[in-house]
């Protein structure tokens, strides 16, 4: 009887580590990441405001221009931009119930997406799906409301590209809470056994609704679970676009070169409640108060300033264009017509 040997990861030599330092994004990429984060944040703020219309003083989820649950991604923007900076429209992405930042970084049509969130006929799905069900085939993006449900489809999309000898890999984003769902295990094993070019990205915002990661997860860090599938696992401790960019680059290059799947866990930050209306009583005082100083966007701006990659003027310009794009999207959505009742009965079958 022998104790299980520690699983060997395909280890990288020191010079590769060195190499990684040089895997930093160039200035253009950094500015794209910043701009995309600014758009994403402006978007969430605008959606929040619109969502609250008609919900005050009495908060009833059914009221206002945007009913239902609303899961905002504020604070998690670095995960989206650091990964999607490496993707083209041919690459498939599956996201979760918290999808806006990823949809925006993947290039989903902002007008049609917003109209969908407003339940309008010009929405991506004519209002059938809403904020948890955003599908844009033109950039191969989709998301869903069931934990870990997007993992299998990402595997399949990547496998399909391989079989059809087409360019394109796939990335599945999930939350850290999803790493305890059976689909996580089954999909990582299958991707490894079939050597599929898919990258699994865990956005660890430390919470699954009110349940802390430490109360739900047997390992401190889910990247360690990659060893259970003999694939590389990466842990990104900083909620920083450049660090995420460098990590994602290695994993995505591996996928593109036919060397199979990887697992990445990123320690990120949920600035809002689980959904709008969540009072977060379960969240420690200190953590709630420290949120703002941990906001990744001001920090990234400071970095870029320090590196001389961003001027006052450039920042102002980016903020203005971001605001403009978001305003335009919301204006488009608000002015779009509502669907007809009978539209509900179509598109069940293609």
């Amino acid at each position: 009887m022998i104790r299980a040997p520690l699983q060997r990861l395909p280890l990288r030599s020191i010079d590769n580590y060195e190499g990684l330092i040089t895997m930093q994004p160039d200035k253009t990429t950094q500015l794209w990441m910043l701009e995309t984060m600014l758009v994403s944040r402006a978007y969430e703020d605008a959606i929040k405001a619109a969502y609250m219309e008609g919900k005050t003083p009495r908060f009833n989820m059914a009221d206002g221009p945007i009913p239902g649950e609303m899961h905002l991604s504020s604070g998690q923007e670095p995960c989206a931009v650091g990964v999607c900076a490496h993707l083209s429209p041919a690459d498939a992405v599956t996201a979760t119930h918290r999808p806006h930042h990823i949809a925006i970084a993947k290039g989903v049509d902002l007008n049609a997406m917003t109209a969908e969130i407003f339940g309008k006929v010009s929405g991506l799905a004519g209002g059938r799906g809403g904020h948890m069900h955003l599908f844009d085939p033109t950039v191969n993006f989709c998301c869903s409301g069931i934990i870990a449900e997007g993992m299998g489809p990402a595997l399949g999309a990547a496998l399909g590209r391989q079989l059809r000898k087409e360019d394109g890999i796939a990335v599945a984003f999930i939350g850290e809470g999803a790493a305890n769902q059976g689909a996580f295990h089954e999909t990582l094993n299958l991707a490894a056994v079939w050597n599929v070019g898919v990258v699994f990205v865990i956005e660890d915002n430390a919470w699954g609704i009110s349940v802390a990661k430490s109360a739900s997860t047997a390992v401190p860090n889910n990247a360690e679970r990659a060893a259970a599938y003999g694939i590389p696992g990466y842990h990104v401790a900083e909620n920083d676009p450049d660090a995420i960019y460098a990590t994602a680059r290695e994993a995505i290059e591996r996928a593109r070169s036919g060397d199979g799947p990887s697992l990445i866990e990123i320690q990120t930050l949920r600035l809002e409640g689980h959904f709008l209306g969540d009072a977060e009583a379960y969240r420690p005082e200190a953590e709630r108060e420290s949120k703002d100083e941990r906001d990744p966007i001001p920090r990234y701006i400071t970095q870029l300033r320090g590196a001389g990659h961003l001027s006052d003027a450039e920042e102002a310009a980016l903020r203005n264009s971001a605001a403009a794009r978001v305003d335009a999207a919301l204006a488009f959505a608000r002015s779009a017509p509502l669907p007809l009742a009978d539209d509900a009965l179509t598109a069940v079958f293609a």
Binding site: R58, F59, N60, M61, A62, I66, P67, G68, E69, E116, G119, K120, G123, G126, G127, R128, G129, G130, H131, M132, H133, S144, G145, I146, I147, A148, G177, A178, N180, Q181, G182, A183, G208, I209, S210, V211, A215, S216, T217, G277, A281, Y282, L338, P339, L340, A341, D343, A344, L345, V348
Partner: protein
């Protein structure tokens, strides 16, 4: 102490509070009762039905789980096998797809597979229903899905009194009971609340028989059959019909398994007309079964074709413009009855 003399003997409660009260009462009496599920401890349940339990009973008996429905529902079956009485929560019934094996093949069949020697006393609480714009993976009822499969009882309360009585009965039952509570009735301010679901509830504990329907309004011209949220739809329709001189009887099924076939037959035999109201998908579901029971049992008495008002066979759409027109409404029911009685003449 729950029945301490200075407390009033009844209290107006929402279904959420009634469920939490029933759970607390049973947990006080029986140390084997425990509650498990996602966000049921510190948060008190996304829908408020476990509010206060963690504070009173502590983390051993009120357990937040990882997002691992298969594991914790399977664990509940094991707990039940050694004398515990677990109450587990599946946050939204829409999530049944990730854990149905543990429910229908395990919890629901162990009694049979053991010749009755290993019963599975457990309760599965799960929220159902839409109407607030939560779209196709968070708004379904799936009553038919659970009621079709043998080995589990299925209850659906329409008001706080039944909710408490059915929950106490479910916890004390030796069998798996699926307790489906409708979000529109839950009494969470943020979901809006059907007023009729908030009623006076005795502080003392009591049970409502699982398997007995209730005639909640007497009438002679037509039988309207609802349950959960659609019971209120039926009652509102009955009021409108009364203004037209149509005297509707209204039945609250309360339990889908066992189904109170006698209650259906007794009423329809008298009225000769029946409309079933269901907010689950129309085909292959509750509405078809209840109508079939009515035709099997009352064919000779039927004066018109039994009719149904249910959600069309499409995923629940997000946009209120798409969802609300199709949710069963009093108007739909009134129209169905008018057509029926017209056709019946």
């Amino acid at each position: 102490m729950e029945t301490a003399t200075q407390t009033p003997t009844t209290e107006r409660l929402t279904i959420a509070r009634a469920m939490a009260t029933a759970l607390a009462g049973e947990m006080r009496h029986d140390p084997n009762v425990l509650v498990m599920g996602e966000d049921i401890a510190a948060l008190g349940g996304v829908f408020g039905n476990t509010q206060g339990l963690l504070e009173e009973f502590g983390p051993e008996r009120v357990r937040d789980t990882p997002i691992s429905e298969t594991a914790f529902i399977g664990a509940a079956v094991g707990l039940a096998s050694v004398g515990m009485r677990p109450v587990v929560e599946l946050m939204f019934v829409d999530f049944f797809g990730v854990c149905m094996d543990a429910i229908y093949n395990l919890a629901a069949k162990n009694s049979y597979f053991s010749g009755g020697k290993m019963p599975v006393p457990m309760v599965l609480m799960t929220s159902v229903g839409g109407g607030y714009g939560d779209a196709g993976q968070h708004s379904q009822c799936l009553y038919g899905t659970f009621a079709h499969l043998p080995g589990m009882k299925v209850v659906v309360p329409s008001n706080a009194y039944d909710a408490k009585g059915l929950m106490v009965a479910a916890i004390r039952d030796q069998n798996p009971v699926v307790f489906m509570y409708h979000k529109a009735l839950q009494g969470m301010g943020w979901l809006g609340t059907e007023k009729g679901s908030v009623v006076d509830v005795p502080n003392d504990s009591y049970t409502v028989d699982i398997g007995s329907a209730a005639v909640v309004r007497k009438g002679n011209d037509v039988t309207l059959i609802g349950f959960g949220n659609t019971l209120h739809t039926a009652l509102k329709a009955a009021d409108r019909l009364a203004q037209e001189g149509i005297d509707a009887e209204v039945i609250d099924l309360r339990s889908l398994v066992p189904l109170d076939r006698d209650a259906i037959a007794n009423s329809v035999t008298r009225t000769g007309n029946v409309v079933v109201v269901d907010d689950d998908y129309l085909s292959y579901g509750v509405s078809g079964e209840v109508i079939t029971v009515a035709t099997e049992r009352c064919f000779k008495s039927l004066q018109s074709a039994p009719a149904r008002v249910a959600f069309p066979d499409v995923p629940i759409p997000f946009s209120p413009a798409l969802e609300r027109p199709w949710l069963p409404s009093p108007e739909h029911v009134v129209t169905a009855v008018r057509q029926q009685l017209g056709a019946g003449e």
